[in-house]
Amino acid sequence: MPSPYNLDIHNTCTECTVRAERLFCNMSASSIAAVDSVKFTGVYPKGSLLFVEGEMPRGIFILCSGRAKLTTSSTEGKTLIVKIAEPGEVLGASATILGKPYEVSAETIEPAQLNFVKRDDFLKLLGTDTETCMHTAQQLSEKYHSAQREIRSLGLSQTTSEKLAKLLLDWCARGGEETNKGIRLKVLLTHEEIAQMIGTTRETVTRLLSDFKRKKIIDVKGSSVFVMAKDSLESMVSI
C-alpha cells in the first residue's frame, strides 16, 4: 500500500514493531497506550521546521522514523548544529517540561514520521505515570551526555582537522557499515552542515575532506563516505 515518501508508517504505538528498540517507547503496554491516546501522528518531508529556537513550547515530538537536525545560534548569528536526532528520540522535552522557550530549532533532514504530544497532555502523563517519568529522564540523560561529548569535542580539540576526524569516528561507531572498501557512512549532511557541527566554515570542511581523500584516509562516492584508514583518523584525535 503506498504511503507518503514510501515511509513505513506506524499509526498505533501499541502495535509498533520497533518499539522495543527505542529508549523512550520501550514502556509497558499500559504506559505506551496512554501516550498513544494523546499523540498526533504526522509525516513530514525533508526540510520541515518542527519548532524554532525561542518559540514557546507547544509540546514534544517523538521521532518515529527519519532524522532531524537540532541547531542553535551563537550571539554572532552563526548556526551551530548541536545534534542529529535519530529515530526513537524525543524532541523538545526540556523546553516542554520547564515551560521555557525551545533552546534549539529542529528541522527534518529526510522524510520523517513524528508523533506530537501537546504540552498539557505530556505534563499530565508525567504527573500520573512514573514509568513515563523514568523513560523521559533516560531520554534527557542521553541528550545531556550527547551534549557533553560535543562540548568536549568543541572545547578540547586543538585543530579543525581533529574535530572532523572525531566526527567521522563518532559516525563510524554509531552507524558505520563494514564493507570491503572500508567503513561506509551514509552522510545526509552538506559540507555547510558539517561545518556547522564542528564550528568552522564550509570551505575548510571541503578542503579537509579533499585532504583526507588525497591521503587515502577516506573515499567519497555520492552521499557515502568510505573510511579506509580508521587508525589514521584515530591518530589525529587527542581527546
Binding site: T72, S73, S74, T75, E76, K78, L80, V82, A93, S94, A95, I97, L98, K100, E103, V104, L126, G127, T128, D129, T130, C133, M134, T136, A137, Q138, L140, S141, E142, K143, Y144, H145, A147, Q148, R149, E150, I151, R152, L154, G155, L156, G199, V237, S238, I239
Partner: protein, 150 residues
Amino acid sequence: MTATMTTIADTLSEHETLERYGVGKVLFREGDEPRGVYIVRSGEVDLVFSGRNGTAKPLRVAPEGAILGLSCIVSRRCHDCSATTRTPCELGFIDRETFLRQVDHSPAVWFSVLQLLSQDVNSCYDCMRTIRDEAAAEKKAAAEKKSLAV
C-alpha cells in the same frame, strides 16, 4: 538553591550520608561507574573534563543545591567529567537504588528530577554557544593582529 533543588533535597535528606570536605577533594573521576548522587548542601564543586594528552577543560561550577551524577545514575553511564571541591563543602551522598526508590514514591519529586535534567541539557547548549563565540572572537582577534602586523 532553587525551588526544584529544594524539593528534591528535602525529600532525600532523611536518606543521605552527610560529609564535610576541604578544598580539592575528588568526588568522582571521569570514567568512574556512578554509585549514587551527591547533593551540594554548601560550597561549590568544579566539574572538569580532560583530553587524552592531559589537557583539562573546566566545564562548569556546580553551586549549592546542585545534584551531581543525576544523569549518570538514570542512564547507567559512567561519569563523563571529574568533580572536585572548589571550596570547603558539605555534601550529601545517596546510593542509586535508594535515590530511585525515594523518587518513585512521588510524581512531584520525579517532575523536579526532570526539571533538573532539563536545566542540565539547556546548560550544555549554552556552553556550546559560549565555546563557539569564544572561538570566533579568538579568530577575529588573531586576524586583526595579523592585519596590524602587515
